[in-house]
Amino acid sequence: MSSQHPPLPPRLRNRLASDLAPVHPRATPWRRAAWLGLLCAAAILIAWIRVRRGGSPPSTSALVASGTEWLAGFAMVWGAMREGVPGLGLGRMRALLLLGLGIATQLGSALLLATSIGERWLGADAVAAGAQCAQGEGAIGLPLLAATTWLLLRSFPLRARLASALAGGAAGVLADAAWHLVCTRTDLLHILIWHLGATVALTAAGYLVGVYLERRF
């Protein structure tokens, strides 16, 4: 491979020679997603223990919904991490599909809870009483989004807006996986507005972070 090669342009050589420190190859997307997934699993466990101590253990439906959402969120984080490696991304269509699938999973969980143990708490009261749920999900989701953004900053996302929106969606779905063990309300309107709303807001926040990231790459 070495005799008729084009010579390295001096300008490029100089630029590189001044910044040629050894680098540690990044962990695979799978391993990076696993760290965040474990972090979130710990949050779910803590939520579950707190709720049990409070004397009202979550129903089986709530646990199933939580586990399903955790899986969906984990897949979304994995997708976002893959987007951070050039040539390893899922592609626009698949990434959008994964994002849609994650949000649909949260919606499906909401429907499962509403049909199995749903209360009929409709109207203005349901809407007004739920702001704390969005705050709770934000409190879990925003650090998750920050952690994912930090991981994306350390990689090289070529479709930064998509990767970051996926990360935001994942943060929302994972936060809901933990929070709906704490929130005892199962009426559909409350879940749609405050829980799904929080996920949509986190996805939008992720997208905006991606706009910033795109300028860096």
Partner: protein, 183 residues
């Protein structure tokens, strides 16, 4: 050692901070990347500048290369991103989408028997008539020698979509020649 294994070896050495390894990578990747970028470069931007920018971006992204993964799709994906960014920048300043540049019609050295059998200028013109994604897929697979899986990774699409793009582009090219297209 196969070419891919050799590239992987140089890439690992480059990650450890060896300039010599980068020189080897540059030697192996610069010519095909240059030909690839010549087809994607917007008017008014020198493909060689894009090659330099691509290698600077490769340098920034070097930690994201995963050992054992093929190097070429990784490098082509970054090169494609550089070209797309240049196009966007150009379109913003020009206020319109970039059209085919005369420079894109420059004769590239043939890399396979396929090119050698055809009139290269006419082929370049015919390639210029294809859609960008189709031309890219065709070029990456049939000329740069990437597998469809690798083409899909570069373009950020599924493997079957990459096959369809390349197939459609090839069919368009055949139809173009069948109707006496190149004159």
């Amino acid at each position: 050692m196969t070419a891919d294994e050799e590239l992987d070896h140089w890439m690992r050495s480059y990650q450890e901070g060896h300039l010599h390894a980068f020189e080897q990578l540059y030697a192996a990747l610069a010519p095909p990347l240059s030909r690839f970028l010549r087809r994607l470069a917007p008017p008014g931007i020198e493909p060689d500048d894009l090659v330099q920018t691509t290698f600077l971006q490769l340098h920034r992204a070097r930690a994201t290369y995963l050992t054992g993964q093929p190097v070429r799709p990784w490098a082509y994906a970054i090169a494609r991103h550089v070209a797309l960014m240049a196009r966007r920048g150009r379109a913003r300043t020009a206020g319109r989408e970039a059209s085919i540049d005369e420079q894109a019609l420059e004769i590239a050295a043939p890399e396979s028997g396929m090119l050698g059998a055809l009139d290269r200028i006419a082929l370049e013109r015919a390639l210029g008539m294809l859609s960008d994604p189709g031309r890219e897929a065709l070029w990456l697979h049939h000329i740069a020698g990437l597998s469809f899986r690798e083409v899909a990774a570069v373009q950020g699409i599924g493997e079957s979509a990459a096959k369809v793009r390349a197939h459609r582009a090839l069919s368009s090219l055949r139809a173009h020649y069948a109707t006496g297209g190149p004159s």
